[in-house]
């Protein structure tokens, strides 16, 4: 069970979090201008990186905030977190 550092609450057990998959998949601003293949790329295709992977988690049974985490998908070693939309954490637990 991972011990994840929520940027807002500090270290918590994995069971407090929900997983949100690969990070950095931006929703296209004008979907109607995309080809079917480009749309499929956004909706379905994933890099599914083996190694250092930027992913999204939400502290579901905690503060409810989403954040990004860099985790190695081979060793499960993880560290760097990032927050969305410039909402900076107030304190680190």
């Amino acid at each position: 069970m991972l011990l994840i550092r929520c940027p807002y609450c500090g270290l918590r057990d994995e069971s407090e979090f929900s997983y949100g998959g690969e990070a950095d998949i931006a929703r296209p601003l004008e979907p109607e201008t995309l080809t079917d293949a480009e749309w499929a790329d956004y909706v379905f295709l994933r890099t599914n990186t083996k190694g250092r992977f930027r992913e999204q988690w939400v502290h579901a049974h905690g503060c409810g905030r989403w954040f990004t985490l860099v985790r190695d998908t081979v060793t499960h070693a993880h560290g760097e977190t990032g927050v969305f939309g410039g909402v900076e954490p107030e304190a680190d637990g």
């Binding site: 929900s18 295709l45 994933r46 081979v74």
Partner: protein
């Protein structure tokens, strides 16, 4: 190939079993093959076998980075069934089941297919409605499936708790009597021995590190044992499909997750069929050795580590003991993890790719073992003819562009 039989066993007993031949050779790879199969699991070995046996293509190498059958083939809970909702799924899984039914004889290797029945439990009104739909669709496809009452379930599985005072009482179940289990390693070994006897080179400890292309066409692979040229390359690497796709320059609609499984200590027979419950998330059968073989859902996060997290195990043990209170004092002997490649629609990919001569067979998620011979059969055809076998066609990659998904997640568990 020396044929196996009770007579050959007796004959070899006289010489102290000192004259058995190798089940398969361990040749060094040749510089070039007609077809290279990447991945020496059950699906890859089956593909090679059917290429040789059905399509006369024997100049084939199977390249395995570790030991054959060492990926999900050797890590799954060995359940075989074909009770799928959609026609396309039913067709390929039923083909697989039919091949399984003759496989020990076909391969002259006992895969210990045990058609002891697969029971899928329903725990609420929504489950019951889903089950009714599923059973009727399955029967429409000519596949055996029936609905059992709690009393009938109890008769079939005396150890189960069908009382009303469970948190989620068992309200009914569907049963596929032809479903069951088989010895997973034997499936890999049987196909390996059969393919080897037909001239296929099985090369273990040979990791593919690159896929060579020229003008949009595959020309071979680079490996830890040097480059190997190939007219066609079939990639069958459960758990690493995205990595291989990356080598060929494209992405797949796949996420790789840990899937954990576990066994109890061996006990005398207590459970004579496979019991699965999606609602409380656990499935269990008893192996011929006597171990209870237990599985559940995937870990939520992406991983290539072949291990998962603890809370998953606690959750499924709670579910198991809830279903089988008499199992509470039995003991967990060993747990392990595999890497499952999951697709958004919970259906596999058997497909040509953007690279000519390169084919992918992947995305079987948590349920690939039951498909092994059918998958190999359809994939061999797809490679040999360079066009999808009708069983494989619905599972091509372009379904994610056209929208023709085969969504086996079924209904979201929602009701007003």
């Amino acid at each position: 190939m020396q044929r196996y039989s009770i007579f050959s066993l007796a004959r070899n007993a006289l010489t102290g079993h000192r004259n058995w031949p190798q089940a398969w050779r361990s040749p060094a790879p040749k510089p070039e093959y007609d077809v290279v199969i990447v991945g020496g699991g059950g699906h890859g070995l089956a593909t090679a076998y059917y290429l040789a046996a059905e399509h006369g293509i024997a100049n084939v190498a199977v390249l395995e980075k570790g030991w054959l059958g060492g990926g999900n083939t050797g890590r799954n809970t060995t359940i075989i069934r074909s009770n799928y909702l959609w026609d396309e799924s039913a067709a390929i899984y039923e083909k697989a089941l039919q091949l399984y039914e003759g496989l020990s004889r076909e391969l002259n290797f006992n895969i210990m297919l045990s058609q002891r029945g697969v029971l899928n439990l329903a725990h609420n009104e929504h489950d019951l409605k889903e089950m009714a739909r599923r059973v009727r669709a399955i029967r429409g496809n000519g596949i055996d499936s029936e609905i059992l009452s709690p009393a009938e379930i109890k008769k079939l599985v005396p150890a189960i708790n069908v009382s009303k005072d469970m948190r989620y009482p068992i309200l009914g179940a569907s049963l596929q009597r032809r479903g069951g289990v088989a010895r997973h390693d034997a499936v890999a070994w049987g196909f390996a021995r059969g393919a080897d006897a037909r001239g296929v080179d099985i090369v273990q400890n040979c990791e593919v590190t690159g896929i060579d292309r020229k003008g949009g066409r595959v020309t071979g692979v680079r490996t830890s044992l040097g480059p190997i040229k190939a007219g066609k390359v079939g990639v069958v690497v459960a758990g690493h499909a995205s990595v291989l796709a990356g080598m060929a320059g494209f992405r797949l609609p796949i996420d790789s997750h840990p899937l954990q499984a576990m066994v109890s200590e061996p006990i005398k027979p207590i459970l004579d069929c496979v019991v699965m419950s999606n609602a409380v998330h656990v499935y269990v059968s008893q192996s011929d050795k006597g171990e209870l073989v237990i599985g559940a859902g995937i870990d939520s996060f992406n991983s290539y580590a072949q291990r998962g997290s603890w809370q998953i195990i606690e959750g499924q043990m709670g579910a198991l003991v809830e279903l089988f209170p008499v199992f509470s004092r039995l003991r967990l002997m060993r747990s392990w993890g595999g890497i499952v490649d999951t697709c958004p629609d919970a259906s596999p990919i058997l497909s040509k790719t953007p690279v000519e001569g390169l084919y992918f067979n992947c995305g079987w998620g948590t349920g690939g073992f039951k498909a092994t011979p059918g998958s190999g059969w359809a994939f061999a055809h797809t490679i040999a003819r360079d066009e999808p076998h009708p069983l494989a066609a619905p599972f091509s990659l372009d379904r994610f562009t056209t929208g023709a998904l085969i969504d086996e997640h079924g209904a979201a568990a929602v009701a007003h």
